[in-house]
C-alpha cells in the first residue's frame, strides 16, 4: 500500500532523485555511533518545538495569568505536567547533546577546512539555544523565574556604555514586569524559532555541500564510503529513541513544582539558575568590585569569540587528536574550568539543604520560646531585637552563642534578652540553627 502510494506520487513528482539526495549521502569511512549527536540535537529541537507549541495552547504571557496558566497546565490539563516536563528536561538534554556534538566535532578536527563555516554556524546555533533557555526560564513567572532573570539582566547592565540601554531594552523599561514577560514570550516563541530554523537549515546546507568529515585519517583517498541510509539512519534512530525514553522517564519521575508566584517585593528570595548556567554563576562569586565586568562580560565575550573563530585560530591542518596537543590541551583546560566550576557550584548548592537535623530542632526551639516576638528572620518577627537573618555570617562563633544563650549579659552587657530555661540539647540545637542562618551561597 505505502509503496503503491509512493509510486503514484513518484510518477508525478519524480521523487527518486530527492530520496537519493536525502538517504544516499556518502558517509566517509562508513556509519558510526559517534556521528549520532547532530541528529539527536535536531530531534531534541523538534521535540522542543512540538511540546512548546502545545504548551502555548494554554500559556498566557501576562503577569496576571502566566503563573496560574502554568499551574493549570500542571494540575488540570491531561498530560500537561508531562508535556511541561518534556519541554523542561528536553532543554537540558539539548544542551548536553550540543555539548557532545561539539566535543565530537572538536576531537575529530571536523571544523578544519573546508568545514569552518559549518563550525561557526554551529557556534551561533549554540548561542541561540542558550538565548532560548534564558528567555524560556522567565515564562512560568514564579519566584525562581523572576529573580533569576532579574540577576541575568542586571549582569547585562554591567557592560560599559551600552549596558544600561541594553538591560532596559531587555526589560522593556525600568523594571522587570509585564513588558518584560511579553517580550520574552515573543522572543522565545516567535523570533528565536524563526532565527534558529534558518540557522539549522544553513548548518545542514553547508553539511551537504562539504559532506561529513568522517574519520581523522590522513589517507582519505583509501577511505570507502557508506550511504547514510539505512545504517546511519538506524543508529541515529536507536539513540534518538533512547534519548527520548530517558527524557520521558525523567519528566515522568521528577516533578517540576513551581515556586511561589513571582513577588517583586520579596527580596529575600535567592534564585538558582539552571545547571547549564551554574558554572557561570559560580564564576561570578570569585570576581568582585572593579574586576566584576571581567566575569560578567569580558571573559564570556572572549570565550565566545575564541569558539567562533576557532577554525582560524587552530591552523594546524592535522585532524588526528594525538598530533594536536595544543588544541586538545586548550579544549581540555576549557572543559576542566567549566566542569570544575559546575562541580563546586553543585557542591555548594547541595551543602545547604543537607543541613544537620539539629538545625530543624533548633528552629522548633526558636518557635517554642517565641523568639520571633523580638527577633526578625527574613522579614518575619518583631523588630525590637537584632535581625537574625544572617547571624551565621555575622557571628559564626559557636562558643559565643552557647555562652550568650546561658546568660546574654555575659557577652552582651546591657542586653534586655532574658535568660531562657534551655536544656543542654535545646541550647545546642538553637545554636546550630543560629549558625545555619547565612546569606545564601
Amino acid at each position: 500500500m505505502s509503496s503503491r502510494l509512493y509510486d503514484w506520487f513518484d510518477r508525478r513528482l519524480n521523487l527518486k532523485p530527492v530520496q537519493r539526495t536525502l538517504l544516499d549521502e556518502p558517509i566517509p569511512g562508513g556509519a558510526s555511533w559517534i556521528y549520532v549527536f547532530g541528529s539527536v540535537t535536531l530531534f531534541l529541537f523538534l521535540m522542543q518545538a512540538a511540546t512548546g507549541m502545545f504548551l502555548a495552547v494554554y500559556y498566557a504571557p501576562t503577569p496576571d495569568h502566566a503563573y496560574d496558566s502554568v499551574r493549570f497546565i500542571e494540575t488540570e490539563v491531561l498530560f500537561g505536567w508531562f508535556v511541561r516536563g518534556l519541554h523542561h528536561w528536553g532543554a537540558s538534554a539539548m544542551v548536553i547533546a550540543i555539548g557532545l556534538h561539539m566535543l565530537q566535532t572538536f576531537l575529530y578536527g571536523a571544523y578544519k577546512p573546508p568545514r569552518e563555516a559549518m563550525w561557526m554556524m554551529g557556534v551561533l546555533l549554540f548561542l541561540i539555544v542558550m538565548t532560548f533557555a534564558f528567555t524560556g526560564y522567565l515564562l512560568p513567572w514564579d519566584q525562581t523565574a523572576y529573580w533569576a532573570t532579574q540577576v541575568g539582566i542586571n549582569m547585562v547592565g554591567t557592560v560599559p556604555l551600552v549596558g544600561d540601554l541594553l538591560s532596559r531594552v531587555l526589560r522593556g523599561g525600568e523594571t522587570l514586569g509585564a513588558l518584560t514577560l511579553s517580550r520574552f514570550f515573543a522572543i522565545h516563541v516567535l523570533f528565536l524559532p524563526a532565527v534558529i530554523a534558518s540557522g539549522i537549515a544553513l548548518h545542514l546546507f553547508i553539511l551537504r555541500r562539504v559532506g561529513p568529515a568522517g574519520p581523522w585519517t590522513d589517507d582519505r583517498a583509501s577511505l570507502s564510503s557508506e550511504t547514510f541510509a539505512p545504517r546511519q539512519v538506524y543508529m541515529d534512530a536507536v539513540v534518538i529513541a533512547g534519548v527520548f525514553a530517558l527524557v520521558a522517564g525523567v519528566a515522568y519521575g521528577i516533578p517540576l513544582p513551581l515556586t511561589d508566584k513571582a513577588d517583586p517585593s520579596d527580596t529575600s528570595f535567592v534564585p538558582v539558575p539552571e545547571w547549564y548556567f551554574l558554572f557561570y554563576y559560580e564564576l561570578l562569586k570569585y570576581v568582585h568590585g572593579p574586576l566584576e565586568p571581567l566575569a560578567t562580560w569580558i571573559l564570556p565575550l572572549c570565550v565566545i569569540l575564541i569558539m567562533f573563530f576557532w577554525p582560524f585560530i587552530d591552523r594546524n591542518p592535522v585532524r588526528n587528536p594525538i598530533r594536536r596537543p595544543v588544541a586538545l590541551g586548550s579544549g581540555l583546560l576549557f572543559l576542566l574550568v567549566v566542569f570544575g566550576l559546575l562541580g563546586i557550584s553543585i557542591k555548594n548548592l547541595y551543602a545547604v539543604p543537607r543541613a544537620d537535623p539539629a538545625v530543624a530542632r533548633g528552629k522548633a526551639v526558636y518557635a517554642q520560646f517565641g523568639c520571633a516576638g523580638c527577633h526578625r528572620i527574613h522579614g518575619e518577627g518583631g523588630a525590637v531585637a537584632p535581625d537574625l537573618s544572617t547571624v551565621g555570617d555575622t557571628r559564626p562563633d559557636r562558643a559565643w552563642h552557647l555562652k550568650h544563650f546561658r546568660d546574654p549579659q555575659s557577652v552582651a552587657p546591657g542586653s534586655f534578652m532574658p535568660k531562657f530555661p534551655l536544656t543542654e540539647q535545646q541550647l545546642n540545637d538553637l545554636t546550630s540553627y543560629m549558625l545555619s542562618l547565612k546569606r545564601a551561597t
Partner: protein, 183 residues
Amino acid sequence: MNHSDDTHSSEGAGLSTPVGTRRTFFHWVTVAAAGFVGMGLAVPLLGSLISPALSRRKRDWVDVGGVAELPLGRPMQLDHVTTIRDGWMETKAQKAVWAVRRSESEVQVFSPICTHLGCGYRWDDGAQKFLCPCHGSSFDVNGRVTGGPAPRPLDVLPSKVEGGRLLVMYKDFKSGLTESVEL
C-alpha cells in the same frame, strides 16, 4: 516494501550500502524507533490538546438563602454570587434563580432563563404566571408551558436543603429544544 531487492547500492567505487536481511533489519529497527518516539509524543500532546473538551465544567453547590424566608407556593427570585471558573481564571458573577417552596422542606428551583430563546422571565402575581417579555411565553407555578412559543417547561436546577439553607447547583441549558439539554 522493496528493501531486499533494492540493490542499486554500489554505484561509485568506494560507496557501499547494506543489502538483504541486514537492510531489512535496519529498516525495521528504524521504523520501530520512530513509532516509539512518535507515539510517545503524539499521545501526551494530543491528549493535552483535547482534554478540556472531555472534562465537564465542575459545579459547586451554592447557598442561595434560608428556606424559612421563602413563602409557600409563591415564586421568589433569589440572587447569589457564584464562582465561575474559566480555565485558569476565576471570576465572581451575580446569578439569579427562581425558587418555589412546595412544603416545609421541599423547594423547586428553576433556571431564570426562558426555554424559548434565552430571555430572563419574571413572575406575575396577578396572572399567577411566569411571563417572558421577549416573545410572550408563559409558564405556571410548576414551570409548565401555558402559552407562547416556549418548546418545553422551565428548566429545573438541582437543589437541596441542608440545615435550613437552600443549596443550588447553577447550570445553563440550550434554548429552543423540546428536551432539557445542559450546556
